[in-house]
Symmetry: C2
Subunit: 154 residues, 2 copies
């Protein structure tokens, strides 16, 4: 029988090496685009989660609506995101990523992926199959966890 501790150890080791590597490339690329990290993060959120209002931004990043408004302003001026009136509620705004913004985000993601492709090249075909299967398992479970209601500390 496989003890849980074994799994824990395996995934922690992987996280350490992966995070280390991934963060470095991410920060480097964010800097090269001329965007600050908060700005880059907003772009990422819009790309992964789709269009949303200002309130989602300020809540998601734990900043005041004023701060969110100012950050978004800069991105709009740079043509990276679009801000239009929500037709269902004229007080609200709908933020969405533009083609230019999407290109920028996708290139950043590619940057991270390059390392992974290198990694794939060092594996045998059987190893790749084995790893693929395992990753599919934890990805599925992780997504299930994500969609569950999140508990906030008081």
């Amino acid at each position: 029988m496989t003890k849980p501790i074994q799994f824990t150890q395996a995934i922690r080791s992987w996280m350490d090496v992966f995070m280390h590597r991934s963060m470095r490339g991410w920060g480097r690329y964010a800097k090269s685009t001329g965007l600050s990290m908060p700005q880059f993060s907003i772009m990422m959120q819009l790309h992964y989660r789709g269009a949303c209002g200002m309130s989602k931004v300020s809540e998601g990043f734990d900043i005041t609506p004023a701060a969110a408004s100012q950050l978004v302003d800069k991105l709009v001026h740079n043509g990276l995101i679009q801000r239009v009136e929500d037709p269902h509620d004229r007080r609200a705004k709908l933020l969405s990523i533009t083609d230019k913004g999407r290109d920028l985000v996708l290139e950043g993601i590619e940057e991270r992926y390059r390392w992974v492709d290198e990694l794939a090249g060092k594996l045998t075909a059987e190893e790749r199959a084995q790893v693929s299967e395992a990753l599919n398992i934890i990805t599925r479970v992780a997504q299930e966890l994500e969609s569950e209601p999140v508990q906030h500390h008081p």
Copy 2:
């Protein structure tokens, strides 16, 4: 036969869900410690890479020596890291993490791990075994890649 594209897809999906989740917890914790992100990053580097001089910090984070000196100053004043003269070169300083600093970093890492433990709980024993094995494979390969000389763009 397993095509490389299959592996690539599996690992990219995992990266997406993992990064998303992990970054959130990381940022949240860094904020709760009262440290800024650059300060927190320096702590992480000292923890993972061990003691080093100021120059390694300024190079590693792509900032001027002046900026590094000021950041380190704050961490030293907070008792999180130690700055002593290098006995081999009295111009240089040796930076190392203190017990207090290590506790802080370790707790931040724990924070990230908590989610993974939750994830482990949702797997069967067989799945855990399968995933462990696969992760060990890519961790080993990733570490090999890390230790190879890094190529810098001109």
